[in-house]
Amino acid sequence: MSALLYAVVGAVLFALGLYGVVAASPLLRKVLAFNIAGSGVFLFLVAMADRVRVPFPDPVPQAMVLTGIVVAVSATALALLLICLLRELSDRPREAADDGH
């Protein structure tokens, strides 16, 4: 029963994150929303793993979540760096114009 609850919460988190990815305007918020959606997927997978008990919860989704979390963290760090780089690059034209060529 609790597995079902967690799975529904995972679906809700995924939908919330999806809305954020589309509707949020700052890129940082999009990245955060993407992480929320990803957490929903992880929660869903773990909840699905708990439905099987022969003789332990299904280890395959657990392994997927374990690797997925690490990949999500590193992809988030890369995305943050890309956002910083984008800001750096979009500030350039103004500064170049200030130099007065």
Binding site: V52, V54, Q62, A63, A75, L81, D91
Partner: protein, 246 residues
Amino acid sequence: MNGLDDTPAGDVMNASSPLLRRLAALAALAIGAGLAAAVGSLPEPPAALPRQVAAFLPASGVRNPVTAVLLNFRSLDTLLELAVLVLAATAARALSAPRSVAAALPPPDPVLAAFFRLFAPMALLVAGYLLWVGAHAPGGAFQAGSVLAATGVMAALTTRFAAFGASRWLPPALALGPAVFLAVGVAVAGGGRSFLQYPAASAGGLILLIESAAALCIAAALAALFLECLQGPLRGPAADPPGGPR
């Protein structure tokens, strides 16, 4: 200069329109409701896969089913996942400013530094324990790697220790994970066994060897990503302050 300069920052970062927001809310609501309804009507789970894991667990060399799946039954996935980590850390290294981390940090607080000296041996002990316990209980390379990475980040923030030479020793540690994994995978192949198919007798030791390298690799990747973010992005010549090298 290049295409990116033609795009003003406003175009990339401006607010989305109310219509788009409403559409997105509707779509997210529909998808969420559909997913939740689908969860309620899921059929009884097919137990074939966990039964197979349980049946082959004695031959996997470890007693923890999650570790058996990660490092034995689906080890190719884990190898590729380490490759993704190395790729992300390498890309971050390429994008970040080539300045020293020490320059991006405030001077270390002596109290924090003293606390870190007390804390570091315990953190290393916990990481080693997690690595070892993964064979028969929850734990393993990912957990140990995260603890090691956190220790590295703390070292960088509270002392100058990790800030010096981090860029020199992080890449070899990164390469170690996939390299050891690949080497073991190739070494066990042959004699009727395929790539990464460990012989049952030595599987436990091989898994521990791979996990040790993977933990170092994961720790190096996570710590490197943190340090690269701290250093900030590459700066072009136009971003130099006025009166800079020009």
